[in-house]
Structures are given as structure tokens and as C-alpha cells.
Amino acid sequence: MIKSMTRSSVLNRTDYRSMLAGNEAYSPSDFELISTTILGSAQASVTFDVSALASTYKHLQIRIAAQSTTTNDNVDMYFNNDTGTNYSWHSLYATGSAIGADYSVNRAGIPESPAVLASSYNTFTACVIDILDPFSTSKYKTSRTFNGRAVSAGYYVSLSSGNWRSTSAITSIKLQGRSNNINTGSRFSIYGLKG
């Protein structure tokens, strides 16, 4: 791809064999934005169809800024619409006044994807989720999450890991409010990392 032609490359009459002569080489990143959803109205969930990505990407990252509608809530993550108790989860968390750990095994979905506040607090929880080897058919799937928000009504920061006990390649990722809708303005972006 030619980005621009430099004057010297035209006038110096040098024979270049490269179409990029005179231009800085374009090196595409191996980290690519696949899609972004910004909610124009509150809705129960956001789903990413990743069924066509297995041949292109090694890992996935989801970046989120979200809030709930009426009350504080949790966004749970499901793979391939599996709502069975096929997930495990561990968390290290802090609220500013307490630090602790939490876990659950044989649960439905991976929580804190993210942990969200009611819209009345005017604060979006930031969340970065890494899903490692999502398309492998020889291993269970692992996710790691960093999420947090800072407001006096609900300080929270956590590092957590999730596990989906399935060797199926992930074809869809659903992020669903557990009790409430996810509020307008919440943003969900998914990225692929080539390997």
C-alpha cells in the first residue's frame, strides 16, 4: 500500500523495486479491533459472534465501560450460550475499607464482567477481559479480568480469573446483566490478537 510519494523518490531517478520506495514501511499491528457496541438504549445483554475468527486470532480481549440501570449489579459472561454450571471463578477484590477473596465453582457464567453501579452514581466501571486460546479444541478456556470503579458510594477494584470447562471452540460471548439491564452509553469492544 502506498501511503504517499516523496518528491525525492520521483525526481532522483533512482530505480526502486519496492512499491514502498520513499515511504515508511507499513507494519500492521497484530492487535485488531473486531467490533464495538455502544448501547443507544438499555438492554439485557451484548453478544459477540466470534465463530468466524478462529483462523485469524489466537486470543481475544474485551474492553468495557459499563453501568447498570436501576441498582448495582453484575454482568456475567457466558460462552456459546452455555448457561449450565460449567464455570469456575476466583477473585481478589478491595473496596477501600476491606480487601478479600472470593470464589465459586460449578456456577453459571463468569461474574464481574464487570461489576457495575446504578446509573445514578454517574460512574462507569472499566473492565478489561483477556480470553486466552478461545478457539482451542484441546483445552478448557481461561479468562482473566481487571475491573474497577471509584466513587464514594461504591469503591471497587478486582482481579479475577474464570474458567469454562469445555473443549469446544468459543463461537459466541454473551455479557448479560444479572438482575438489571445494562444502561445506555455502556460500551463493549472486542479485539483479536494474532498468534
Partner: protein
């Protein structure tokens, strides 16, 4: 069509000690910013960032840390967004994730992970209570100490 992203916007290695770094005229064409810092400081402090050089009382922060012998948590409501500790000899690595930085309809949430092997590992969440788009970032030590020569600062844009 996928968009190649995680674009390096600026990269700086200090040739001499200085008290702050400013990234200005930040394009609004990305979704998030990622600021990667490594370095030491003249005296021990915390990494901090000020969006648009706002030094008003417009910030809230919560943190947790583990030092190997102690785990702790706390909150701050000060005049900048916080990261973990920076020291005088052992390199500290600190990564700020600034989400939806150019949005004008929401306050900004900034996550931080900091690691320093002679101190602790940290996780922070911050809120900058402004709906202004972030067009500049000032990076500094909370106590105003100089960053030492060799400290590095790299700013990346993640596609919208």
C-alpha cells in the same frame, strides 16, 4: 473489516531528570488510551496522571496492594488519578488504562496496575469527574519528585 490498533502515539525516554511529562494534542480518534511507564524517582512516591492538567479536587481512587507480607486497601480523593509506587532504585512498571477518554457524555474511569519488586504489586481504579474529552495527560510523581534519567513513557491509542 478489522482495524489494526494499539497504535504507538508517543514514546519518551528521559535523557535527564524531570518532574513531569506531558502528552498534548492527543487525537480524539481512538477509544481508549494506554500509558506504559517504567522508571525510578528521586524520592519514593506514587505514579499519577492528570487529564487535561486538571489539578482540582475532581478525582476518586481505590486501591489494593500486596507486598508479600501484607495486603491492604484504601481510597483517595485527591487532585490526580493514582497508580502504584515508584521508588529510587528498583524499576517500577506502571500501566494506566484510560477508557473512553474522548467521550463527552461520561466521567472517565482509569485503571492502573503497578509492579515494583522491592515494594508491592498494586491495582487501582480512578474516576475523573469530568465529561470533557481528554486531550492531554500530565504524568508526575505525587510528591513532585523528579523522574530519574532513563525512565520511559509510552502512550498508545486503542481503536474506537
Amino acid at each position: 473489516m478489522p482495524t489494526s490498533t494499539y497504535i504507538p502515539l508517543a514514546n519518551l525516554t528521559l535523557g535527564s531528570a524531570q518532574s513531569s511529562i506531558t502528552f498534548s494534542s492527543i487525537s480524539g480518534s481512538y477509544r481508549d488510551l494506554i500509558l506504559v511507564c517504567t522508571g525510578t524517582s528521586a524520592t519514593g512516591s506514587n505514579w499519577t496522571v492528570r487529564p487535561n492538567n486538571d489539578s482540582g479536587s475532581n478525582y476518586a481512587s481505590v486501591y489494593m496492594y500486596g507486598s508479600g507480607s501484607t495486603a491492604g486497601t484504601g481510597t483517595e480523593t485527591l487532585t490526580e488519578a493514582f497508580g502504584g509506587g515508584i521508588g529510587t532504585s528498583t524499576i517500577s512498571n506502571s500501566i494506566f488504562q484510560i477508557m473512553d477518554y474522548s467521550a463527552t457524555d461520561k466521567y472517565k474511569t482509569i485503571l492502573n496496575r503497578t509492579n515494583r519488586t522491592d515494594d508491592a504489586t498494586y491495582a487501582w481504579a480512578n474516576r475523573w469527574a469530568s465529561t470533557s474529552a481528554i486531550t492531554s495527560l500530565v504524568v508526575r510523581c505525587y510528591n513532585g519528585a523528579n523522574f530519574n534519567t532513563g525512565s520511559t513513557f509510552a502512550l498508545y491509542g486503542v481503536a474506537a
